[in-house]
Symmetry: C2
């Protein structure tokens, strides 16, 4: 905590000022009393100037000045492209700066391991930004999965699709660099299957498809996946960059069915439909500031020296599955996943609430989705 | 039409008096003016006596007397176990009797081919009882799939699950005999993907799971499947005999999403939720007598010498996919499906409406599902 002006606030640099940073991360600080937006890092001097002015931030840096930025903050929020997570996380950790990193953690397991090692060696906290680990609807789904109301859990299914705009970073990076629908959207489905079943998959089957549009030159259009979990449970999902918006999962037990639709959003309320026998109940979970909550939680971990729950290991747990998915899609065979221990999982105790904010004006950045307003 | 008392009515023998025959087929005749319930065939003399009395049928036969039964009717409705379809269909056709056969058509492609050959050689009509080919909700889904409202179709997903009772024929037959969730429930998902995409899959990946309960000694508990369709479209489904009731599909295009839930039922209304951009519309399709409609349609084909749309080829089209699914689940590899031409597909022109009837009393037969009333 070298850099804090006080012991009750963590100073952040937000690194990367793309759409998610502007629309969600920067506005979140005003809802996170223990977190201070102290510095901005971007290659775009216009963004730095305009957003610096908007948020009254004096400390703005290019990527070349990243080391200087690190010397002035306690933590970074990494919103750079996926293949840069490792470099920026390792450098931060080496400087004793804590890292809150967007998901997916990295394009491959090796990068994840390097990030975990760097954070351990330097006693820097590392958290992966799984915002739904703190969101009421998803935590209620976990509670229902655990309390027996659905009976024994058997099946998870999910669809997560959007129309990604031509030229967006999500389609411009090769999957080896963490581009494509599995890294960007599939990780939500993988993560949800894991937190709802409370277990790690043992086998993966996948197939990818590509309708050949210009925007899908570097990445596949979509992928369908089957995951086998212990206790003979099955999970399937389809994620796509080329289909109309849907964000849904369904958890089927021996006694009941929980459908969440929308399930993964931050810009609208999460909804549940629960069916137990003949009885159907519906529930809506208000739109909240899911990014403020992550700052509040991570800063609390930093200030009180606690290990964050969506740890580096949690990020790695998803990335190793993504790697297996691509391997299966290539080989047209089931891919076995070795045993993997995850000690902590999200639970309803992790719920934190902060009110939603309005839509900020965006500088030089477009929403990923064609359909988004 | 040797046996008809008149040229405007087809005389039927219902062969097999299990649950579906009693709950749906027998009561349907009173809603099908061109179809006459003339004979019953069963191994259970008590059923024959009681149901004969209830429906005022004088012609009741054991299976040993099947040839005699055939000599008195124009058509049979085959509701015997799946592995007996071939024998009873081929014998009927050989006697010049038309065949309306429950789905799945048979446990394997060879049986299907034998049934098709027998019906062709003897100029007997052959129809597979795909009741949803005449149902308003599913036909409206097909219309939406064709009229461009959803944009280009990309993804189909489906869940179809129930808790099958211990000892039910569905779990007592090995899958080689057409037992198990893929033959019984998966064919609905396969058939829906085919009629919604209007195409035949080219590749299948599947995995089966079994929680080891006593009722799953002969068949798997559940199976998850990914099917690849031409134009790089993907379909996934999970069907289960060991999970809470769900009967849903989702069709995702480039512009919109159609969800149907319930989608495959005959005992309740079919429902749609259509999302095009921000606009959501819901629609309910009244519960109707889907079995009467099949009789009306098939009898019309017999009386007017027309080829039924859910033909033997349509039944075979599903069975060859089921075989590929089991092969993939065994080999843990993608299984390629050779090209397959289906000339006719269901369309909204096929809709026929007949009112629903009440629940009849059942003799010596239990509903397949634990949860069903």
């Amino acid at each position: 905590m070298r850099h804090s002006t006080s012991k009750d606030k963590v100073r952040y640099a937000v690194v990367g000022l793309g759409h998610i940073a502007q629309v969600a991360v920067l506005p979140a600080f005003k809802n996170a009393a223990n977190s201070e937006l102290f510095a901005l890092v971007s290659s775009d001097s216009d963004k730095l100037q305009k957003l610096g002015k908007k948020y009254a931030i004096q400390h703005v840096y290019s990527y070349e000045e990243y080391s200087r930025a690190l010397s002035n903050v306690d933590a970074v929020y990494l919103a750079v492209p996926n293949h840069l997570h490792r470099e920026y996380a390792v450098r931060a950790a080496a400087a004793g700066v804590h890292v809150l990193c967007e998901k997916p953690m990295a394009p491959n397991v090796e990068d994840c391991q390097a990030m975990i090692a760097a954070s351990r060696q330097n006693h820097a906290k590392l958290m992966i930004a799984y915002r739904l680990h703190f969101e009421a609807g998803n935590l209620e789904a976990i509670r229902l999965a655990r309390n027996g109301k659905l009976g024994a859990l058997r099946i998870f299914t999910s669809e997560f699709c959007q129309q990604v705009s031509d030229g967006n970073v999500r389609v411009n990076e090769f999957s080896a660099n963490g581009g494509g629908p599995v890294y960007d959207m599939g990780v939500y489905c993988i993560n949800a299957a894991r937190y709802l079943f409370g277990a790690e998959p043992t086998e993966v089957l996948a197939t990818a498809a590509n309708n050949g549009e210009g925007r899908f030159q570097h990445v596949e259009e979509m992928t369908s996946v089957v995951m086998r979990f212990p206790e003979e449970r099955l999970a399937t999902f389809t994620c796509s960059f080329g289909a109309a918006d849907i964000s849904r999962y369904c958890l089927i037990g021996t006694k009941g069915v929980l459908q969440s639709d929308p399930a993964y959003e931050y810009a609208m309320a999460i909804k549940h439909q629960l069916t137990i026998g003949e009885k159907k109940t519906e529930k809506s979970f208000a739109k909240r500031d899911q990014f403020a909550v992550q700052l509040v939680y991570f800063s609390d971990c930093v200030l009180k020296d606690k290990e964050p729950e969506p740890s580096g290991l949690e990020g790695l747990a998803d990335v190793r599955i993504v790697e297996a998915i691509y391997e299966s899609a290539r080989s047209k065979r089931a891919v076995h996943l070795p045993q993997f221990q995850v000690k902590r999982r999200p639970s309803v105790r992790q719920e934190i609430r902060r009110p939603a904010h309005g839509k900020p004006q965006i500088v030089h950045s477009k929403p990923p989705s064609r359909e988004a307003a």
